[in-house]
Subunit: 230 residues, 4 copies
Amino acid sequence: MNIIINVEEYDNSPTSAFALRNPWKTKLGKHIIQCAIQLIESDGYEQCTFKKIGIIIGSPEASLYRYFESKHKLLLFIMSLYWFALDKAYKDVLIHTKSPEEALKNVINLLSAPNNIVIQDSILNGDLLNNIVIIESSKAFLTKHVDEDNLEGAFLTLKAFASKIAHNILLINPDYPYSRALASTIIEIPLQQSHFSKHLPSLTEFKAINSNKNECSEWLLHLIMNTVKK
Amino acid sequence: MNIIINVEEYDNSPTSAFALRNPWKTKLGKHIIQCAIQLIESDGYEQCTFKKIGIIIGSPEASLYRYFESKHKLLLFIMSLYWFALDKAYKDVLIHTKSPEEALKNVINLLSAPNNIVIQDSILNGDLLNNIVIIESSKAFLTKHVDEDNLEGAFLTLKAFASKIAHNILLINPDYPYSRALASTIIEIPLQQSHFSKHLPSLTEFKAINSNKNECSEWLLHLIMNTVKK
Amino acid sequence: MNIIINVEEYDNSPTSAFALRNPWKTKLGKHIIQCAIQLIESDGYEQCTFKKIGIIIGSPEASLYRYFESKHKLLLFIMSLYWFALDKAYKDVLIHTKSPEEALKNVINLLSAPNNIVIQDSILNGDLLNNIVIIESSKAFLTKHVDEDNLEGAFLTLKAFASKIAHNILLINPDYPYSRALASTIIEIPLQQSHFSKHLPSLTEFKAINSNKNECSEWLLHLIMNTVKK
Amino acid sequence: MNIIINVEEYDNSPTSAFALRNPWKTKLGKHIIQCAIQLIESDGYEQCTFKKIGIIIGSPEASLYRYFESKHKLLLFIMSLYWFALDKAYKDVLIHTKSPEEALKNVINLLSAPNNIVIQDSILNGDLLNNIVIIESSKAFLTKHVDEDNLEGAFLTLKAFASKIAHNILLINPDYPYSRALASTIIEIPLQQSHFSKHLPSLTEFKAINSNKNECSEWLLHLIMNTVKK
DNA sequence: CATGAATGAGGCTTCATTCAT
DNA sequence: GATGAATGAAGCCTCATTCAT
């Protein structure tokens, strides 16, 4: 699926605070994001350097620093954008949704397939984003010299999204005592299973997530519904 | 809980292949493991260097290379050991278990609390190990210069463990079509929830895992049983 | 004390050669000088960058280059201006002075207290200027890529000032063989003592120069007079 | 003059705390000190980099970091050593001195000529050291991120030395009210005059300090004695 | 078995400046 | 006259590792 974000939405999102200037405004800015996503996904955050990105896109390291104060800010930017986009997609989906059950089904479908993010003429590959988020999220917490506020900002969008799902669970069953734990589980399982299917296939029956997303999503839906409805 | 491993078991495990010599045999070897676990957990794998470990335990970097060929091998060693210990604990638990249902309950309990690993006079903190495993596991796949065999080795113990759980699920319900996906989910959820309770508490109802482990474990048990039994 | 310089005087001084255009003519120009003085004093010449100045005064780096060809020229500008101002103040003082003894006393008083420089509506803090001059002067000699002429220019004003003092010493005692050495000593001692009182108080009895300037100035006067008069 | 320091004295001095290991023990260590002194003197502290030193002595940058934690520590090391050596030389001179008047004369002579420092087979050029001390001393105070204790350490040796001179002044005239200011003046004047003779010769009558040290030293002696003796 | 010394490669970042608008 | 964008060069420092003892 494609999630379309327009520039105004971006400007008003917590995500924009992680960049020094709007990267969608210049060719260089867009190249940085595209290339960073590919490199972080393939080599990992630590092995991805501004220098390497620069070589690929044909700009010197120094130029990247005009867009992102540091490599860490760039990572937070990408993750924040990811959750902002998912949150938006979910909001859009809710509009055409009649029951909370249908909403839950929709969000699981949303999470079980990679979602490309489209901003202006940039298309950010959802598959890569998935992998980055699952592998690098935890690392964001470890960088001690980062001020807490930034961290909070980075996960604001994730929290907003998770909170909506938890709310939905309570609509289905107001007595469900662990709506938040279940919401975060709904978010994590597809990412994990997708990851396993790639790297440790013996740990899952699902194949690469894009080929049979429905299978994983339906399994997850049953798993969740069985618990909530009771 | 404490999982006790004796040296002979260690020697025969895939874990031992990651070290150049048996670290339990010398004070220095044991210090390295202890200290590495603490440092990787607190600062992250990339920020943990042989130099830092050396300073803490009062040995020069060069000495560590007599035990571990590289920093990466040390990480694989720790992770491999973790899954080996859990696998062993599960085997021990199975001995006194009458039904597959009880076995599933037991493994969930096992996973929902931190498990210290005890080898000779070394006690490795289960809480720290949990965090390392959840944060650093994915990274193991990304280090390209490592030969595939090593990687496979590193996850042999995890696979063995997951496989036992999947098998158990099939004992309860031979028709359950996603036993492996469910097994890996059982392994991951407690780690994730424990992680959230520490770093993003708004994403879960559970508090620090050691304080009310039962709550998380019971929730997870219901979640799983509802799906399997049906 | 305040030393008032009018724009015409500035235009005819060697100082003006260090700027590309008259900085007193625009708000931006005056901001640059003010801010540079503060930043060089607090962080040192090397840590003071056009970028930092730009951020503080809200202009991009490029704008500063319309006023000063380089950071080094800006430093020379400030130091040159300082000695030009002191020289002028001394000239003004001499007008109302009857004896060379009184003149010597006056110049020591002048040097023993910080002197603000006032140009149009700009007031440059004398205390900061003192510190810059003592700390950064020597550095001007070391910057090899600067052509000699500029260097000479930068110290023209200092030399003119020192020369007047030396001349005055000879008026008191025409046989004094080291008038120039004594003149430069008169200039340096108050700067040094002021510096010590701030940073290494155990090396002097004087407190921060502004609080009891008289004490230092009187001590210095005795020291000098004892030598000259003999 | 040559001031000879033996390794034991060095080890017990505050100076040794600025190095990670004893630089006199290896050829590399001695090369670093020698070369750093030359480079700092000729190009200034900021322009002197570990890389440049490394190129000159044929070792990679990284090797220098085994001896000095940072460039700043290296500067503090050199300055601290300088004052430690002068302090020692003064102590040695005092042994053969009968009157405080003679002592004062001796210390002024000591300060008015460059003093080489000899440690084992290393000879550190006193002329260069003089220049470094006068130009870079003030800078040591500006590096804000340096902990205060280190700074104190760096100037411990200077303070010890200055304090001895002040004490001596009081022996000559117990009522002299500014013994400390006079002591620091005695230390600074020869450095300043030597500096002027090199870079701004019109500010002094003295030529390069080594050629006619006696002249400057005698002038200074008179200047001081006239004041102290009352 | 342990360690002190050394190092090539590279990471992250800033600087001083230019140029097109 | 002012500025937004860009960049080559370099700075400081750390890392993972090797080697000789």
